[in-house]
Symmetry: C3
Subunit: 264 residues, 3 copies
């Protein structure tokens, strides 16, 4: 890796002079790379991407498949974050500070990872998933679209630690995993379901259910939970009342579906 790739910097003043960019990295001309950050060779960075300070992107690893780390357009990677090669993110990735993402992670558009998130790689994440801070994702975890994960949640994968068996959790679309919960290996959380704070979830949870406790138990239909805004409306499915930050076309589709199926 060259210390500095002067030709490129001549064209793109937005690469800080202290940043270290590999000569083979493909970086859109309007990308911004912060001070003391390092971009390795096997990296593609799209248009309108901002990389904060003290980051390291595209760390080589024999555990990858040779493909580059792809950071698509309109992404923001905050300071002190670390990404390995051979992972792919859709448009509009947003991270907090100090995120770690290992190789062979595939995520759709609009993925948000809060500060200190730790994704162990070899996992798939759908569209517009939002993690708050300090979420840990073991290998082979499968997360659907529009999932929410709150601080300190852990997705595990070894049912008999330590063993040679790996069973990732499976989180279906629109599910919500609240703070400090642990999802045990191989557990499925059904579409639109809610795991309450501090839960230890050892059994599969169906669709549109709520569970909580240690061990977590199914406590009924999630639609029985009402909003705390004085409206007495059901709080779930959450996409009926919470649409902040989602693309307009997605919100319109959600609204169309609710008109067709008011229960849905």
């Amino acid at each position: 890796m060259d210390h500095r790739h002067d030709d490129r910097r001549g064209l793109t003043l937005a690469i800080h002079p202290t940043a270290i960019v590999g000569p083979k990295a493909r970086i859109a001309s309007d990308a911004q790379i912060g001070a003391f950050s390092i971009i390795h060779d096997n990296v593609e960075i799209g248009e309108n991407v901002i990389v904060g300070t003290h980051c390291e992107l595209g760390i080589p690893t024999p555990l990858g498949d040779g493909r580059p780390l792809v950071i698509s357009a309109d992404s923001l990677i905050r300071s002190h974050s670390v990404f390995y090669e051979s992972s792919h993110f859709g448009k509009g990735l947003k991270t907090g500070h100090r995120v770690t993402v290992r190789e062979m992670t595939v995520a759709g558009d609009g993925f948000q990872i809060g500060s200190l998130g730790d994704i162990q790689g070899h996992c798939s994440i759908g569209q517009h998933v939002r993690f708050q801070s300090s979420v840990f994702v073991a290998q082979r975890t499968k997360i659907g679209s529009f999932v929410w994960v709150f601080p300190n949640v852990v997705f595990t994968n070894d049912p008999r630690p330590p063993s040679n068996t790996t069973q990732g959790a499976n989180i279906e679309d629109f599910a919500v995993i609240s703070t400090n919960s642990t999802i045990l290996p191989g557990v499925t959380i059904g579409q639109g379901s809610l795991v309450g704070a501090g839960s230890v979830v050892a059994k599969d949870l169906g669709k549109q259910r709520i569970c909580f406790g240690n061990p977590a138990r199914d406590r009924g239909d999630v639609s029985q939970i009402t909003l705390k805004d004085g409206s007495n409306r059901s709080a779930y499915p959450w996409r009926r009342h919470f649409v902040r930050g989602y693309p307009e076309e997605i919100v319109q589709e959600w609204n169309r579906l609710f008109e067709t199926n008011p229960e849905g």
Copy 2:
């Protein structure tokens, strides 16, 4: 931001030559700024402050109110920490490594934040509060004075995640929140009360009480808990026997109050 502000460095050798300091940052002449750290323009750093290596202080954000990040005298910010603009800390702030503090955080004197602490901003923290490692503070949390918070505690704020309602927790003076506990949105922990390790606290707790469990239940008066030093004395109020590191005038006031009211 200038790469280096040579005039200032000429006067204060304690700014490391690799540090990057904005030309408008106001930094006391005896402050020390570590290698590879970045100080943005909208920052005020008081006398006898040490900033470790690889930090970034005063990150601009439209979510602030335009006011600077203020780090008052006698503070120590350890390496890899990140602070946004528009937050204010009293004298003697001490942080561990890799602390993140977002905008609109206001804290009194003597605040200690352990490594990996993550303060989401828009919150208030009283005098001489002490966090151990990996404490997460959601927006709108209100923490009184002389509060203790142990590792991995999470203060949440969304009662129906995700929703548009934000209800910060309210932690009163002298309260102690033990390791790995979750404080649910809008919950008040009363003055001098103790939340046991691993609790999930969904209900308000009165003054001088102890709760623990998932869900946490009120288990009685905290003064029934005795010290483990062989003395058989009550362990709470803790300020009767634990005064390490607090200013002398505060300890004297605590002692005066106990003479007036031996129960208090």
Copy 3:
């Protein structure tokens, strides 16, 4: 600390030109030091060691005993990690990113610390111990050999927080502490025992037992737990079937012992 120690760099091209190495640091000629990393004077780094980017090793502290930070041969310290002086690690230390290790930590060979691990110092760790991400180790914790610790586990040490009494936990050889568990002060986890995920352990656990829950209760002999690989074999002692990454001579000794004592 000199900005750069040119003589050494002349000999060892593997010290990145942006790294800052104290002139008194003793670094094996084939060690690699990453970009923007800092090695203080009171450090010894053995042969075939790789230090990632943005690290700081050997931070001086009056709480040490004057001895150096020793990183023995064949070690890998990943980026953004921080070690203080006066700690000693055997051969083959491997860390994730953003590890923090304070002074007076002593660990044997083959220690693995996952990303975001936070070791508060003044503790002892045996041979071939493996921590996954975000493990917190309070001072005076004593961890045996071949112990496994999973993400977000906290070892505490203050039985009446805050107090002047410090009682570290004691984790015996081959024990396994699962995700998100809290080990309360002074608790002993017996040899080969398993603490289930999300446990809050307030009482000692004997040898070869399993406990889980909040509060954790002894649920019986750990050998009753069977593998999830379809074999119906007992999952514990785990060293009967899981040997990945351990030195050949250790695995052979384990096998010899099992031949002598099939139960053991």
